[in-house]
Structures are given as C-alpha cells and as structure tokens.
Symmetry: C2
Subunit: 99 residues, 2 copies
C-alpha cells in the first residue's frame, strides 16, 4: 500500500471462503507504523485487539486502545497509527463489493 | 432468543451508526451457555476474543479458543457453546440487510 509504513494485512475471511457480503482482515502495525491517509467509498468497521494508537479522521487525532470499536464512514479521509511501543493489532471488516 | 442460554448480545456497530452493509455484535456466553441451534439466510463471521467453546455445525462439534476465526455459511444449522469454566466472548458480524 502506497503511503503505508510497517503494516501487515492478513485476510482472515474473504470471498474465497464464500463470504459474499464482507471480508475480515487483521492489521498488524509495528511501533511507528501507519496506514496511508486515504478515502474510499466503502465503510470500515474496526475492533482493536491489542496495543494503542491514534485514529486520524478529518484532521483530528483520536487515541484508542484495546477493545475500542471504530466505525469509518464512506468517503472520509482517515488513517490508523501505532503510537505505542509494542505491536498494535486490529480487525478491519469491509464490504467485498468494492473492497 | 428462544433456545439460548446465558448469552448476552451487545450491538457495537449497527445501522444506527450509519453502517449500511453489516453490523458488529459482541456475544458473551457464560460457562454452560449456548446460542440456539438455528439457521438463517445470511452468513456470519466470528472472531473469538476469549474463553473456549464448541462450534456445532451440521451435527459435528468443532472446539475453538481465543483468536479463532469462524465463517458460518448461509442456511447451515449451527450453534455456539461455551465449554469452558470462564466467560467466552466473540465478535459476530452479520449483513444488515436481513440480520
């Protein structure tokens, strides 16, 4: 992913498994890592498993930690950062239609 | 839910939040608790957060534990049981269209 740093994405459930409507991915961000600042037409649903970070959304930063839930509406600029000193992991679910 | 025992469901992200395509729920099953044995036309995607249990699927039981991922295809009979002696928690994501 262009603009990403120290991020790994693993697809846990996808169309290959017969999931017609949405896919589940695991994001792993190393300390200092971040996803690209970007927008897309589909919503995301995020559940933070471990670590801590910041959700950058329309120019503001919102800190988060384990068990936090984040809904990213369509077409809103955002990124995720690992702001801690350990691995940050989160689930990210997206529609498969245009994901 | 008829046929359920010691299960609590919390809706983490739903249509009320603007989620048009799918919803995220948290299931909490006490020891001995279970969801009803049932089928439905929509798929489920499950991520186990803590505890251990069994996924009953078409007459067989599949044990699971933390970080296990389960895809439930449409129209397949299934239920979830807590087979341990502590709380079992899992995320369950469903399409909103008929969820």
């Amino acid at each position: 992913m262009e603009g990403a740093k120290d991020v790994e994405i693993r697809w846990l459930i996808s169309k290959d498994d017969g999931a017609e409507n949405f896919a589940m991915r695991m994001f792993e961000l190393q300390p200092g890592g971040h996803t690209p600042l970007h927008t897309h037409p589909q919503e995301h649903e995020v559940f933070v498993l471990e670590g801590c970070g910041a959700f950058v959304y329309e120019g503001r930063e919102y800190p988060f930690g384990p068990e936090h839930v984040i809904f990213v509406p369509p077409n809103k600029e955002h990124c995720f950062k690992n702001t801690g000193d350990s691995l940050m992991r989160m689930l990210c679910i997206i529609p498969t239609s245009d994901g």
